[in-house]
């Protein structure tokens, strides 16, 4: 090692894998290569790493899929696009919860919206907010693809009805700039939850609906009824209405509520935005 080098042998040791992998930023790579010119011992280490890679790593391949599995997958793929394969379960008549859902949510907002100064910041609340944001990110990145997509709220309600033992009520879409991207089962707060992925203009909004028992186990205080948090740049609203808990995640503040409520909807004579300040 040369005294005064920006890179020393210890640093080189810690970076030898990223260097050989070609993952070092340019500046650090240049520093490392400058050090290697001067340091024979480190140069030998790097040469061995390249030799090891050449002898073994570049030869590694995934284990081949056995023929019988390949046949099964080919059969599955051949049936793609057919409703029976994708749905896997029969559809039932749609249920008419929508009107009730709108009314229930409206009552909940009217009675409970007191946001901003009364945010509860307990660990449980933080955990639920973090988990909600994480799931929202997975939904919008496509890492948690929807189980159903391109369906109406009523169809989604019905789909959940056969999969969860709590009521999932989804209001009709309020305007043409709101679409229900998809829905799926997910997990939050130690329970299975319904995850609904909306798009409002160009923004994605995730609504998670959990059973009362799971919400109760969080031990959240009743006030404020609407818990509003900002986590990792996302706006999170957590609340309970009657026998159901909800979390709503977006990057558009109170506008996210427009997936269920019209912008000009009034609650006790006041606008939605006057209650929801994120």
């Amino acid at each position: 090692m040369q005294h005064g080098d920006a890179m020393n042998c210890d640093t080189m040791k810690s970076q030898v894998f990223p260097y050989v992998d070609g993952e070092l930023p340019t500046e650090l790579r240049n520093e490392m290569e400058g050090h290697l010119v001067e340091c024979e011992a480190c140069r030998r280490v790097v040469e061995q790493e390249f030799a090891f890679r050449e002898a073994y790593i570049t030869q590694l391949l995934p284990d081949p899929a056995p023929p019988q599995l390949r046949d099964k997958v080919n059969q599955l793929l051949a049936g793609l696009g057919q409703p029976a394969v994708l749905a896997r379960r029969p559809w039932y008549k749609a249920l008419l919860y929508t009107t009730a859902a709108v009314a229930l949510l409206a009552v909940g907002v009217t009675l409970g919206l007191r946001l901003g100064a009364l945010i509860e910041r307990g660990n449980v609340l933080d955990d639920v907010a973090e988990a909600s944001v994480e799931q929202h990110q997975k939904l919008i990145r496509g890492l948690m693809p929807p189980d159903i997509a391109g369906v109406s709220p009523k169809v989604a309600e019905d789909w959940f009805r056969h999969r969860v033992d709590f009521k999932v009520s989804l209001p009709d879409l309020k305007s043409s700039n709101v679409t229900l991207v998809g829905a799926r089962m997910s997990h939050l707060a130690h329970a299975e939850v319904a995850a609904i992925d909306y798009q409002l203009d160009s923004h994605r909004v995730s609504l998670f609906i959990m059973p009362e028992e799971a919400y109760n186990q969080l031990g959240l205080s009743e006030k404020p009824r609407f818990k509003v948090l900002k986590r990792r740049g996302f706006d999170v609203v957590i609340w309970r209405h009657q026998a159901t808990g909800y979390t709503l995640v977006s990057e558009i503040g109170s506008r996210a509520c427009h997936v269920c409520h019209t912008p000009d909807e009034k609650f006790g004579g006041a606008s939605l935005e006057s209650f929801v300040r994120l």
């Binding site: 894998f17 284990d63 890492l143 929807p146």
Partner: protein, 188 residues
């Protein structure tokens, strides 16, 4: 090419890799085939949301991983338990012994077979094996691996570093079961 044909072509190009990953997550006799099929159905349903900036197989790896976690949580009483976070993996990940860089000189001299190296990778604790296979077998970038496992790049680098060192320990001393590395002539 329609959506179904495009999806089929993608899958055909990486089926070995997808099968390999399900075997990593679900050890026989558990039904890794069912995990693969459920994941493929989910992937097809979400194919419209696939971002081509991510390699296709990496995108499906992420779906397989999440499907596996979902299935595990459905079956277990504790839904927050992470099926990938077994005790062995966790304890070995944080063992200072595997922060010791091991030079591959002795392994090169032994002229190990490729199959011996592959078997050594299979013996790694799952969290290390996952990133080692993603990098060294699938050739994925650190950033892509971080996206799949939903962890920072630093975590990927740490697991890769320790996994590779543990692999070398196995190769130098094939009888080793507990992965306790020793300082010696292999240290840099």
């Amino acid at each position: 090419m329609d959506k179904v044909s495009e999806f089929q072509a993608h899958i055909a190009g990486c089926l070995d890799s997808l099968h390999n990953y399900t075997l990593l997550l679900v050890r026989p006799p558990d039904d890794h085939e069912d995990l693969l099929q459920e994941s493929l159905l989910r992937a097809f349903r979400g194919f419209d949301s696939y971002d081509p900036d991510l390699p296709f197989k990496a995108w499906v790896f992420g779906i397989i991983r999440n499907t596996h976690i979902d299935r595990h949580r459905r079956r277990k009483a504790s839904p927050l338990e992470d099926p990938l976070n077994d005790a062995q993996s966790t304890s070995m990940l944080y063992s200072p012994l595997f922060s010791i860089p091991l030079a591959p000189e002795a392994i090169l001299l032994r002229q190990e077979t490729i199959e011996h190296v592959r078997e050594g990778i299979r013996r790694l604790p799952i969290l290390m094996r996952e990133v080692v296979e993603f990098r060294d077998i699938e050739g994925l970038s650190y950033r892509t691996i971080a996206t799949i496992i939903d962890r920072p790049i630093g975590t990927v680098m740490s697991r890769l570093y320790r996994g590779r060192n543990l692999l070398r320990t196995y190769l130098v001393d094939p009888r080793r079961q507990d992965g306790h590395a020793t300082r010696g002539r292999h240290e840099l």
